[in-house]
């Protein structure tokens, strides 16, 4: 009898532990997240509140667009089919909205790293004239005047006063659970399936030529680099240098992940390439040689047409359909 009791207690404890971490699980070959969860411990109600806010156009000046307008789940939370993303009143910005995933492993946000913490990120699109064109004051007062939100905030934070801190932390919590770790690559890592011969060769090509910047298993080092794109004279976007004010950062942009490329086209900070083969072509024959090019790109990539096909088939193994169709991330009805 005593043993049965102990067994039950043990089982219950295991259940509790797995429930506790069920919102945020990641494979053991991922590094440790950099987000400080002790400042913002995940809670089911807070994640749901973040989810409501993410999909609610209440955040934009004329209540026309939400975060999801430029970050749609079916596109791995990128803005499909637009080179430059557009926000409120059809105003066009100067960059391509990045895909959102595995954000807990990233320290700096935006293509130029202008935002230094996930919690602060939402302030930028909310207030940017080409995005939501709103003010923080207006967002807070609208939410405070909404009795449903007062209720949701109370369930999330035991406080219905609706403070900036809580709005931003709730948005962070929802975005933190955007974990993509169920691609074929992940299944291979977990020992569940094997790569095909072609994918395996493509993996070799990847490791030799791409992994220095698009480092596995997140497929980005999340640092900044210049990948030799010729400057678009209509945008004159020099990237990171405008934030760091260090001339060595001229033409540097945040290295994007290679996960979910199938869903997140077009590619590059200004969305200039619609297809992956255009991207590979850039690295083999399109690099603009400048002072600021990193050593990895000083010599053009030399890939046979066979290797290009192999590399593409490996890159396809990084697509994670369970991520783009995960019901936990979708619009809350």
């Amino acid at each position: 009898m005593k043993y049965i009791f102990l067994f039950c207690a043990f089982g219950f404890a295991i259940l509790l532990i797995s429930f506790e971490s069920s919102e945020f699980t990641y494979p053991n070959y991922f590094p440790k997240p950099v987000y400080n969860f002790s400042h913002n411990p995940l809670k089911k109600e807070t994640i749901q509140l973040g989810r409501r806010l993410f999909y609610d156009p209440i955040l934009s000046a004329d209540s026309s667009i939400s975060c999801a307008s430029c970050h749609s789940q079916y596109n791995a939370f990128a803005h499909v089919d637009h080179d430059l993303s557009h926000g409120i009143y059809d105003r066009i910005g100067k960059r391509n909205a990045p895909a959102l995933m595995n954000l807990a492993w990233q320290e700096l946000f935006m293509w130029d790293g202008a935002i230094n913490h996930l919690d602060m990120q939402a302030l930028a699109p909310i207030t940017h004239p080409n995005e939501m064109d709103n003010s923080l004051e207006n967002v807070i007062s609208r939410l405070r005047n909404n009795s449903n939100y007062r209720h949701y905030f109370f369930s999330a934070f035991n406080d219905s006063s609706i403070k900036t801190e809580h709005v931003l932390k709730a948005l962070s919590q929802f975005e933190l659970i955007f974990i993509s770790s169920n691609s074929k690559y992940d299944s291979v890592k977990k020992g569940l399936v094997l790569f095909t011969e072609k994918e395996k060769k493509g993996y070799e090509v990847f490791l030799q030529n791409c992994n220095a910047c698009h480092t596995e298993p997140l497929f980005s080092s999340y640092s900044f680099s210049n990948n030799g794109l010729p400057l678009d004279s209509t945008l004159l976007d020099y990237g990171r240098v405008s934030i760091s004010l260090q001339s060595a950062d001229s033409g540097y942009f945040k290295i994007p992940t290679l996960r979910n490329l199938r869903y997140s086209f077009p590619y590059m900070h200004d969305g200039r390439f619609k297809t992956l083969s255009k991207v590979i072509q850039h690295y083999t024959s399109g690099i603009n040689y400048s002072l600021h090019l990193p050593k990895e790109l000083k010599k053009p990539l030399q890939l046979s047409s066979e290797q290009k096909v192999e590399l593409m088939s490996f890159l396809f193994t990084l697509n994670d359909s369970s991520f783009v169709f995960n019901k936990q991330f979708s619009y809350l009805k």
Binding site: N36, H39, N40, A114, I115, N116, H117, L118, D119, M120, L123, A124, I126, T127, H128, L136, E137, I140, K163, T164, E165, L168, K169, I243, S244, L245
Partner: protein, 230 residues
């Protein structure tokens, strides 16, 4: 038993009263922004006594934080930030709990916010971005904000705007300030705002609103604004 209870509890209660009494005093600091000896009030013109120009301040807000009070043998740290807005008298009178026997003879504090505060994520109270002292487009606090109008300023509506911030090397703008004074439990800190503007010519430099070299230089000028009046 009740007797025992009291015997044990009484020293504890007395101790509580004692510690409360220990910190019952407050060290008070009054911040007074001045312009060439005249007290600055928002929307009330003051005169630049060197050139006779009239200046009307429209906004004057800044962070002070990490206060430390020194006496001969004691050092008291207060690890908080206070947003001073001269339009709001509640924010210009600061009070720090001290033991009754404590008399400070110097004070040090940070003008602005340190780098840890700038990268720590969202905070509440005086550090809430709702206070209008945070850059959404380039994460970081605006450490000091001075805006006003003066006829010689060629900006729109003669407006000058200095939003000074930046925490990354080499353009950090938070400044360590320290001032010595005669032993006291109360001081007035005068901030001579003309010192901040002395090095820029408002006729050609009238807006700084991003981190960088100019912001750093102005923050260095601002570090010379403070004097103590007793």
């Amino acid at each position: 038993m009740p007797c025992n209870f009291i015997t044990y509890l009484l020293p504890f209660v007395l101790f509580l009263f004692y510690t409360k009494a220990l910190y019952s005093q407050a060290f008070t600091v009054n911040i007074k922004p001045m312009y060439y000896g005249q007290i600055i009030q928002i929307d009330h013109p003051v005169i630049d006594s060197l050139q006779g120009e009239q200046v009307t301040f429209k906004e004057c807000k800044f962070y002070l934080g990490k206060f430390t009070l020194y006496s001969k043998d004691t050092v008291l740290h207060f690890n908080r930030y206070q947003l001073i807005d001269i339009e709001n008298a509640n924010t210009t009178a600061l009070s720090f709990p001290i033991p009754s026997s404590f008399y400070a003879d110097s004070i040090s504090f940070l003008l602005g916010t340190d780098s840890v505060t700038n990268i720590n994520g969202i905070m509440d109270g005086d550090l809430d971005p709702l206070n209008g002292m945070y850059w959404a487009w380039n994460s970081g606090y605006i450490n000091m904000k001075i805006e006003g109008i003066t006829p010689k300023c060629p900006g729109r509506n003669n407006l000058f705007q200095f939003h000074i911030g930046g925490y990354q090397a080499p353009y950090q703008t938070a400044q360590n300030i320290s001032c010595a004074f005669k032993r006291s439990q109360s001081i007035e800190i005068q901030m001579h705002v003309q010192k901040a503007l002395e090095k820029v010519q408002l006729s050609n430099e009238y807006q700084i609103m991003s981190p960088g070299k100019k912001a750093k230089e102005m923050s260095e000028s601002m570090s010379t604004m403070f004097t103590i009046l007793q």
